[in-house]
C-alpha cells in the first residue's frame, strides 16, 4: 500500500517537473516568439557529425562520384521539337533515322525527369538513417568493403546505434508528447475563439493563436526554419503560392504568419483538426464535389481575398508533393485570378531526414511517424517579391514565370512535367503531338523535296535564335542562291520571312523536276 503511494508521488513529481520544463522550454518561448537555441545547437552538432562521416568515407574512396548516371543527348521533351531528329539535310525517311528515337528511349529508361521526383532524394554520403538508400550497406554488409574500411564500418555502426537509441527512445516519445500537447493547445485556444463574433479583437487573437500553435508543432518536430527576405512576406488580399513537398509545408509557413488554407475537406485525423481550425479563422474549404467546378472555386477565393481582414490564401499549385529536388508544372487555375501573387520557395535540407511525403506509400500518420523518428526538419524559406499578371500574359505563361522564380531561388530544377504523373500515365495526346511533328517532317519531305523541307524546319525552330541562324546558312547553300542572297545572310539583318519566300520561289522551278524524279521509281 505504501509502495503504491510512493510510486504515485514520484509519478506526480515527474509529471510536474516535465510540465514545468515543457512550459519553460517550449510553450513560453513559442508564445513570446523567441528561441533558446537548443534545436540550433543540436543541428550544428549533427552537421559536424555528418561532415566527419563524409570526410572519412571520402578517404576510404567509398563516396559516389557523380549524381547522374548518364549525360543525356537526345532528350525529347513534350515541349521540345523533334525536328532535329533528322539532323542531316537529307530529304527522305532513311532506315538509320530511328536511331535517334531509340537512343532517346534508352536514355529515358536510364534517367528521366519525372520518376525520380517521387522518390527520396539521394545523398552523396550517409546521414546515419537506415532508410536512406544503399549507404546502409556500411552496416548491413561490412564484408563487401575492403579490409581497410572495417574500422570505419565499426565506427559508423556504433554511431548509427547511438542514433537509433536517441531517435526512437528519447526524441520520439518526447516529440509525440509535445505534438499531442500542441494539438490540444490549438484545440483549447481555438474553441473559445470560435465562439466569439467577428471583431478586430478576434482577428488579432486569431493571428496570435495560429502562430503560437504552429510554433509549438514545429518545435515538436524539431523544425529549424530560416526565413529569408521577410520584408516580402505575403499580405492580406493576395495569394501565396509555394512549392509542395509535404503537408508540413503549411505548418512551416504558418509559424511565421497565419494563412487561410484552401483545400479539400479531408476525412479522419486531419479532417478533425481542419474543422476546428476553420471555426476560429476563415479558411476556404471545399467538398470533393465542388473542387471540380473551377468557376465556383475561383469565385470563393476572390470573395475571400477581396476582404482585407482575411489572411492571405496559401496555395500549392503543383497539386501534389514532389521530393524537393524540383518544381513541377503549376496548375493554371490559381493564376487566372486578377490578384497579387506572393511566391514562396521552400527548400528542406535532406541531410536531417526526408521531408517528402510519398502519399502513395505512406498514410499521414505513417509519414508523421517517420518524420518524428528522423533527426530533424531543417528548411529554408524565401519570401519573393509580389508578382502580378501582365496584361498580355496568359495564365499559363504567368504560372511558368512564377514557377521559374521559385525554382531559381530554392535551387530546384524547373521541370515542365505535370506532377500528377505520379499516379497517372502520360496523356496520349503528347504522343500524337510527336507523331504529328514527324508526320509533317517526313510527309512534306517525300512529297515536295529538299528545299521545302528546309522551309519547314525554319518554322519548326523559330523559338531558338541560334538554330535559326544555322538553318539560314543551310538555306542559302541548299538553294544555291545568288551572291546577293549570300551577302544578305552574312549581314544577318534580313528578316526570316523574306528568306523563306526567296527559297520557296526558287524551289518552285525545281519542284516539278523532283516530283517527276520520284515518279520514276518503279512501283
Amino acid at each position: 500500500m505504501e509502495d503504491l503511494a510512493v510510486t504515485f508521488e514520484i509519478l506526480c513529481k515527474a509529471t510536474f517537473i516535465f510540465s514545468f520544463l515543457l512550459l519553460l522550454l517550449v510553450v513560453g518561448p513559442a508564445c513570446l516568439g523567441i528561441e533558446i537555441g537548443i534545436r540550433k545547437g543540436y543541428i550544428r552538432l549533427l552537421m559536424r557529425l555528418f561532415q566527419w562521416g563524409t570526410r572519412r568515407l571520402q578517404k576510404e574512396g567509398e563516396m559516389l562520384t557523380s549524381e547522374d548516371i548518364i549525360e543525356k543527348e537526345n532528350s525529347i521533351n513534350r515541349l521540345g521539337s523533334l525536328s532535329d531528329c533528322v539532323n542531316e539535310p537529307h530529304k527522305k525517311f532513311k532506315l538509320p533515322d530511328v536511331s535517334y528515337l531509340v537512343k532517346s528511349g534508352i536514355e529515358a529508361v536510364i534517367d528521366d525527369e519525372v520518376t525520380k521526383r517521387f522518390r527520396a532524394e539521394e545523398l552523396p554520403s550517409w546521414n546515419l538513417l537506415t532508410r536512406t538508400d544503399f549507404h546502409y550497406r556500411f552496416i548491413r554488409k561490412p564484408t563487401c568493403l575492403p579490409t581497410k574500411s572495417a574500422d570505419i564500418c565499426v565506427r559508423l555502426s556504433i554511431l548509427w546505434l547511438v542514433g537509433v537509441l536517441l531517435r526512437y527512445c528519447i526524441l520520439f516519445p518526447l516529440r509525440l508528447v509535445i505534438t499531442v500537447f500542441a494539438l490540444s493547445w490549438i484545440l483549447c485556444t481555438m474553441l473559445p475563439l470560435a465562439a466569439l463574433s467577428d471583431s478586430s479583437f478576434k482577428r488579432r487573437m486569431g493571428y496570435y493563436v495560429n502562430v503560437v500553435g504552429f510554433r509549438i508543432i514545429c518545435r515538436a518536430l524539431s523544425a529549424v526554419v530560416t526565413y529569408h527576405d521577410r520584408e516580402n512576406m505575403p499580405q492580406p488580399g493576395g495569394i501565396c503560392v509555394a512549392n509542395h513537398t509535404t503537408t508540413l509545408d503549411a505548418a512551416v509557413l504558418m509559424q511565421d504568419r497565419p494563412y487561410a488554407v484552401l483545400g479539400q475537406i479531408h476525412g479522419g485525423f486531419l479532417g478533425g483538426i481542419m474543422r476546428i481550425m476553420s471555426r476560429a479563422t476563415k479558411h476556404v474549404w471545399f467538398e470533393r464535389s465542388e473542387v471540380r467546378d473551377r468557376q465556383f472555386v475561383s469565385k470563393r477565393i476572390m470573395e475571400h481575398v477581396s476582404d482585407l481582414n482575411n489572411f492571405p490564401v496559401l496555395l500549392f499549385p503543383e497539386g501534389t508533393c514532389i521530393n524537393n529536388t524540383s518544381v513541377m508544372m503549376f496548375k493554371k487555375g490559381s493564376f487566372e485570378m486578377p490578384t497579387t501573387i506572393y511566391p514562396v520557395a521552400i527548400k528542406y535540407n535532406p541531410w536531417f531526414g526526408d521531408a517528402f511525403w510519398n502519399s502513395s506509400k505512406h498514410s499521414m500518420l505513417q509519414y508523421l511517424l517517420v518524420v518524428m523518428t528522423s533527426w530533424a526538419i531543417v528548411a529554408d524559406v524565401w519570401y519573393l517579391p509580389a508578382m502580378k499578371r501582365e496584361p498580355e500574359e496568359t495564365a499559363v505563361q504567368f504560372a511558368e514565370r512564377v514557377k521559374a522564380v521559385i525554382a531559381r531561388k530554392g535551387g530546384l530544377v524547373d521541370c515542365v512535367w505535370d506532377g500528377q504523373l505520379k499516379r497517372m500515365r502520360v496523356k496520349e495526346s503528347y504522343l500524337r503531338e510527336k507523331q504529328k511533328e514527324l508526320g509533317e517532317l517526313y510527309g512534306e519531305c517525300d512529297e515536295l523535296g529538299q528545299d521545302h523541307q528546309c522551309v519547314k524546319r525554319v518554322r519548326f525552330n523559330l523559338s531558338t535564335t541560334e538554330e535559326i541562324e544555322i538553318e539560314q546558312t543551310e538555306l542559302s547553300s541548299d538553294s544555291q542562291s545568288s551572291d546577293e542572297g549570300d551577302a544578305e545572310t552574312q549581314d544577318g539583318q534580313i528578316s526570316l520571312d523574306d528568306k523563306v519566300e526567296e527559297v520557296l520561289g526558287q524551289s518552285e522551278e525545281t519542284e516539278g523536276l523532283r516530283l517527276r524524279h520520284n515518279g520514276e521509281i518503279p512501283a
Binding site: E73, I76, P96, S99, L101, V109, N358, R425, G443, D446
Partner: protein, 189 residues
C-alpha cells in the same frame, strides 16, 4: 522512405554483370538503384507497365518497340541482368571493341535491325517497314504515301532485288551514317 529495398546486389552478381557488359562497379550500382526505382512493386523484375510509366519514354513514338527489345524470347519479366544486357548495347565503342561485345558496331546495328524486324525472322519486309512508319507518324500521313515511302526505302537498300532487307543489306546501309555514335549513350563513371 521507411521501407528499405528488400533486394540487395550481391558482389558476385556485380562481378558477373561487369564481365558480361563491361559496365564499371559504380555504374552497375547506380543502374541497380535506377532499376529498383522503376520496379514500383518491388518484386525484383520489371514489367512492360513499369517501362511505359516513364513519361519521357511513353511519348516516344517507338516506345513499344524499345520496350520490346528488353523482353527477349517472350518473357514477361525483365530481371536486372537482362536489363543490363540490353543497356550494354549502348555503351560507347571504339576500334578496339571486340566484335562479340554487346557494344560493338555490329551488335548496335543488330539492335536497330530488331526494332524493324518485328517477327524476328532476320529479314525486313515492306510490311514491317510500314508498321514502323505508322508508329512514327500515326495518322498524319496517308496510307498511300506511307506505302510509297516504305517502297522507296526498301528499294534503296535491297541490293539483290528479293524485296526484303537482309541483315547484311541493312548493315551496309547503317554503316554509311556513323551509327556507332548515334547508338552510344554517354555513361558517366
Amino acid at each position: 522512405m521507411g521501407s528499405k529495398t528488400s533486394l540487395h546486389l550481391q558482389e558476385d552478381e556485380i562481378q558477373r554483370i561487369h564481365e558480361e557488359t563491361g559496365f564499371s562497379h559504380n555504374q552497375i550500382i547506380r543502374l541497380f538503384s535506377r532499376f529498383t526505382c522503376l520496379d514500383k512493386e518491388q518484386n525484383g523484375f520489371l514489367t512492360r507497365d513499369d517501362f511505359l510509366r516513364i513519361p519521357e519514354l511513353a511519348i516516344n513514338p517507338l516506345a513499344e518497340r524499345i520496350v520490346d527489345s528488353f523482353f527477349k524470347n517472350g518473357h514477361e519479366h525483365v530481371n536486372f541482368r537482362t536489363f543490363m544486357n540490353t543497356l550494354a548495347h549502348f555503351r560507347p565503342c571504339n576500334s578496339k571493341t571486340p566484335d562479340d561485345a554487346p557494344n560493338s558496331v555490329s551488335n548496335k546495328i543488330k539492335f536497330i535491325f530488331s526494332i524493324y524486324d518485328y517477327d524476328r525472322d532476320n529479314t525486313i519486309l515492306k510490311d514491317e517497314l510500314l508498321q514502323v512508319l505508322e508508329l512514327l507518324v500515326g495518322a498524319n500521313i496517308s496510307k498511300e504515301q506511307l506505302s510509297h515511302i516504305a517502297e522507296r526505302t526498301l528499294l534503296e537498300c535491297d541490293t539483290n532485288n528479293d524485296r526484303q532487307i537482309t541483315f547484311e543489306e541493312f548493315k551496309n546501309e547503317m554503316i554509311k551514317s556513323e551509327i556507332d555514335s548515334k547508338m552510344s549513350v554517354r555513361f558517366l563513371d
